[in-house]
């Protein structure tokens, strides 16, 4: 083949030697035809024989036959060769715009794009099928796919367009007799007619060279694809009349003067050709035409098949197709204005597209998909396993924040934000977006599938909490550590013992060795707390009260109660209240040891919520029995040298008063009278009352018991026998305490807090007999007088407070501070 792609085979050889498919150059072009025509004209058959050509043929060459060489080769020696052949370069200039248009179209008309079959089907109307061979589809740069994000070339379709149709350029036999279709001979004749006319038209060559349309503007009918249905006569008539799409209009004899070789075909507006350096020169040929149909996606023959309306330019909105400036001149003012406005709009839009398209092609679709996949993976990793974000797991992971927010009403930043859902949503969105316009494209689907699969895998992996937290890529030096919000990257990698069997026995032995050492106390206390917390969890998950006729709910409730009971037993065991009391033991009872820790004291109110009355009285009894050995009593004994106990002890006492006493008081206030009697008896029998009474906690407990007894008596609930028993015990207590009554006051008079003492004295005074009351007054008279005197030196509010405390006692025995005044 020749350099320019001209067909150098002779006509008679052509049928015999179809030759390989030649891609872009396969199509015949008028240049070749003319060259062929001239060759045919004088050399016809005798040019082949070697003998004939050998003998001085060069000398015999007729120089006047060179007259048309210029026409053939576009201007001869004096003119630059030009770049008409450079289909690739021209197309590449506008490939971005083509791609943009393509994308836009496919987005706007997804159903069309989806419906497009990969190769041409026999049922397609012939007119549209010929559009397949139309110029735009010939101008492949090979790079369109890079401007079309989803495009992957379909090799099969390509071969059907290029290869098979051109390999057998047989004339359509059935229609050959129908003279409305031009036969090969006709076309060649036309070419011959054309050639002499082209000669004397040098002026036309000053026009800018058209893009590459002219060679393809006259597809000879015999180049219809193989197996193409014969054209119906009426269509052929239309062809002749020029109603065909302008860009494939065959040159009717009348127009041939205008559209000789090197002249723009009527279908391509001049202004576009002249502005060939504008980005999208082969945008839709003309405004009205573009308006009438969907935007034209040039390179995709398959798409074009589906758009017959687009092929017939004129008429849809009543505006003529403007094919050249002259036509513009003939239009009415309105039409012209409308056309110009339309044109300006289009130019503006094209410019915009051009500006936007600067970054086109920087990333291939594969790149984009890759990035998207990475982003999705990050998303899923960040979300971790939040997919199962029920309340329980949120509480496990974020306990402090969640509970704190509930308690203090803090604003929640992301209340249970379902990140997993977010990932899901995102995935679905992209799925819709990609699948929308490009379902026809196999590999785009593949990408989506791969992405979906990857996300699924990632979600599952996150759910399964991946065992290996590191990835070592083969051949790389570093490791990649996986981490997410739930499992931050581990800095230290400590091997834990495979089973806990190794560690546990040792600990057990230790705890068995000494129940009283601090560590084991704390361990026991933690057991209490863990039992406590599981009980609180149970409380939260309490099923709703079952209805009568709902066996399932009843069953559920029963199971729940069973679990609660089990936990209660566990808590009770870990409290060690029932441990045997060892008399005269040097180590305190385990339960009392628990109470000696601050957090043991703090646990009491929570424990009391989860245990029944019997357990509460047991605890109270334990405390009363061991009142002596309670740290808050034992350490609080004011020694003669010191004004008050140490800070730590005072804090412990404060804590005990705040945490334990209210719980005990809460129980005592509901306790039956006989239990009160029994407790008072225990205090008297088991403890050293005189020393107990010197402490705040001891006095508090005594006050508690005495006041409860008084309330019971006032309410008249006390049986006579019980009351007698109580009075007996009370008398013993009074007699024991009487000598030390003055010592129960803390420190000197100005040390402040002595209210609890006055409360105790008041409780004693109410329950005491008149004789006992007198003894009481005598015992504390000095203190009363001192306090009254002292309060006069104090500021008004403090003074009234102190006097109020004293009055608490005075009123109990029927007196008042005012009387002392």
């Amino acid at each position: 083949m020749s350099f320019f792609g001209f067909d150098t085979t002779l006509p008679r050889d052509r049928d015999r030697d179809p030759g390989p498919s030649r891609g872009v150059f396969e199509n015949s072009d008028p240049f070749a035809d003319i060259a062929r025509a001239t060759a045919n004209a004088d050399e016809d058959d005798d040019a082949i024989d070697f003998e004939d050509t050998y003998d001085g043929l060069g000398d015999q060459l007729d120089n006047d036959q060179d007259a048309f060489n210029d026409d053939t080769f576009g201007g001869g020696e004096t003119k630059a060769v030009g770049r008409d052949f450079d289909f690739f370069g021209r197309t590449a200039q506008v490939s971005d715009a083509i791609g943009e248009e393509q994308v836009r179209y496919s987005l706007q008309h997804p159903q069309l794009a989806q419906a497009a079959p990969p190769a041409q089907a026999p049922g397609i109307p012939p007119q549209t099928a010929t559009a397949q061979a139309a110029p735009p589809s010939n101008k492949r740069s090979g790079y369109e796919k890079y401007s079309d994000p989803g495009f992957i070339p379909d090799l099969q379709a390509k071969s059907s367009v290029w290869g098979t149709s051109q390999r057998k350029p047989e004339p359509v036999p059935a229609q050959a007799s129908n003279r409305k279709m031009m036969s090969l001979e006709e076309v060649e004749a036309q070419m011959r007619r054309l050639a002499p006319q082209a000669g004397p038209m040098p002026a036309l060559h000053s026009l800018p060279q058209p893009v590459s349309e002219p060679p393809y503007a006259h597809p000879p009918p015999q180049q219809l694809p193989d197996g193409f249905p014969p054209m119906p006569p009426e269509l052929m008539a239309q062809l002749e009349k020029g109603v065909l799409p302008p860009h494939m209009q065959p040159p009717p004899p009348g127009v041939s003067e205008l559209c000789g070789p090197g002249h723009p075909p009527p279908g391509v507006p001049l202004h576009l050709l002249q502005n060939a350096n504008l980005p999208p020169p082969n945008m839709p040929p003309s405004g009205p035409q573009r308006q009438s149909g969907p935007p034209q996606g040039p390179p995709q023959g398959q798409r074009q098949q589906q758009m017959p309306p687009m092929a017939r330019g004129p008429g849809n909105n009543g505006m003529p197709v403007v094919t050249n400036p002259q036509q513009l001149m003939h239009m009415t003012e309105d039409q012209r204005n409308a056309y110009l406005v339309e044109d300006a709009k289009r130019a503006k839009r094209n410019h915009k597209i051009f500006l936007l398209s600067k970054g086109n092609g920087l990333m291939t679709p594969q790149d984009k998909n890759f990035i998207t996949r990475i982003q999705l993976q990050q998303l899923v990793a960040a979300a971790g396993n939040v997919t199962d974000s029920d309340l329980e797991s949120v509480l496990t992971e974020d306990f402090y924040y969640q509970v704190y927010s509930q308690i203090r009403g803090a604003p929640r930043q992301h209340p249970h934000q379902p990140l997993g859902h977010f990932a899901q949503t995102y995935l679905l969105q992209t799925g819709a977006r990609f699948g929308h316009g490009r379902r026809a494209l196999q590999s785009a689907d593949n990408h989506m599938q791969r992405m979906q699969q990857q996300v699924q895998r990632a979600v599952e992996a996150a759910k399964a909490k991946p065992k290996n937290k590191q990835l070592i890529i083969e051949g790389s030096l570093g490791k990649i550590s996986f981490s997410n919000a739930k499992a931050p990257k581990a800095i230290l990698n400590i091997k834990r013992p495979d089973s806990s069997e190794g560690a546990k026995p040792a600990r057990k032995i230790q705890s068995d060795l000494s129940l009283s050492d601090r560590k084991s106390i704390l361990t026991n206390l933690e057991a209490v707390y863990s039992a406590l917390m599981s009980m609180e969890d149970m409380e939260r998950t309490m099923p709703p009260p079952p209805e009568e006729n709902d066996p399932e709910a009843i069953q559920e409730h029963m199971e729940w109660r069973q679990k609660v009971h089990t936990l209660n037993q566990k808590l009770w065991r870990s409290l060690k209240v029932m441990e045997p009391i060892v008399p005269n033991s040097t180590t305190p009872h385990p339960f009392i040891a628990l109470l000696s820790c601050p957090k043991g004291k703090k646990a009491i109110p929570r424990i009391f919520r989860h245990i029944d009355q019997e357990q509460r009285v047991t605890i109270l009894t334990m405390i009363v029995v061991h009142l002596d050995s309670l740290d808050v009593v034992r350490l609080a004994q004011s020694t003669p040298g010191e004004a008050q106990p140490s800070l730590a002890v005072r804090e412990a006492i404060e804590l005990f008063s705040l945490a334990v006493m209210p719980s005990l008081l809460g129980y005592v206030n509901e306790a039956p009278f006989n239990i009160i009697i029994g407790l008072l008896g225990l205090v008297i029998a088991q403890t050293h009352v005189q020393s107990v009474a010197r402490t705040k906690v001891g006095l508090g407990i005594l006050t508690m018991l005495l006041s409860r007894a008084e309330i019971v008596k006032e309410a008249g609930q006390a049986a006579e026998r019980d009351w007698q028993q109580w009075v007996e015990k009370f008398n013993v207590l009074f007699d024991t305490l009487e000598p030390v009554l003055i010592e129960i006051f803390p420190g000197s008079i100005n040390s402040g807090d002595d209210m609890y003492v006055w409360q105790f004295l008041a409780a004693v005074g109410i329950g005491a007999s008149p004789e006992q009351q007198q003894r009481l007054v005598i015992a504390v008279k000095d203190r009363v007088m001192e306090t009254v005197a002292y309060s006069k030196t104090l500021p008004a509010d403090m003074s009234s407070q102190r006097l109020g405390n004293v009055n608490l006692f005075m009123r109990a025995i029927g007196l008042d501070v005012e009387l002392l005044g």
């Binding site: 496990t396 992971e397 969640q402 917390m533």
Partner: protein
Amino acid sequence: MLFFSFFKTLTNQTVTIELKNDIRIRGILKSVDQYLNIKLDEVEVLDLDKYPHLSSVKNMFIRGSVVRYVMLPRSEVDVGLLEDATRREAANQAGKAR
């Protein structure tokens, strides 16, 4: 997640952060993330004489790894709850290790 959970409750409280390079910054805790990176607003640098270059800084993002101490408003910490949260965390960790 305990510390993350804990610091989240302190948002919009004034905290003082001491960095490992001894700079102490007081400001309103705006947010914290799982790396304990911290965003501070209305920043005020203690010992500003020593760090004059920070005098115009109004808010900042502190990488969690450079923090030495965070001084908290005591009233905003529920110690009992924090203890329980710690127990839960320990139980979780033990559960994971097993």
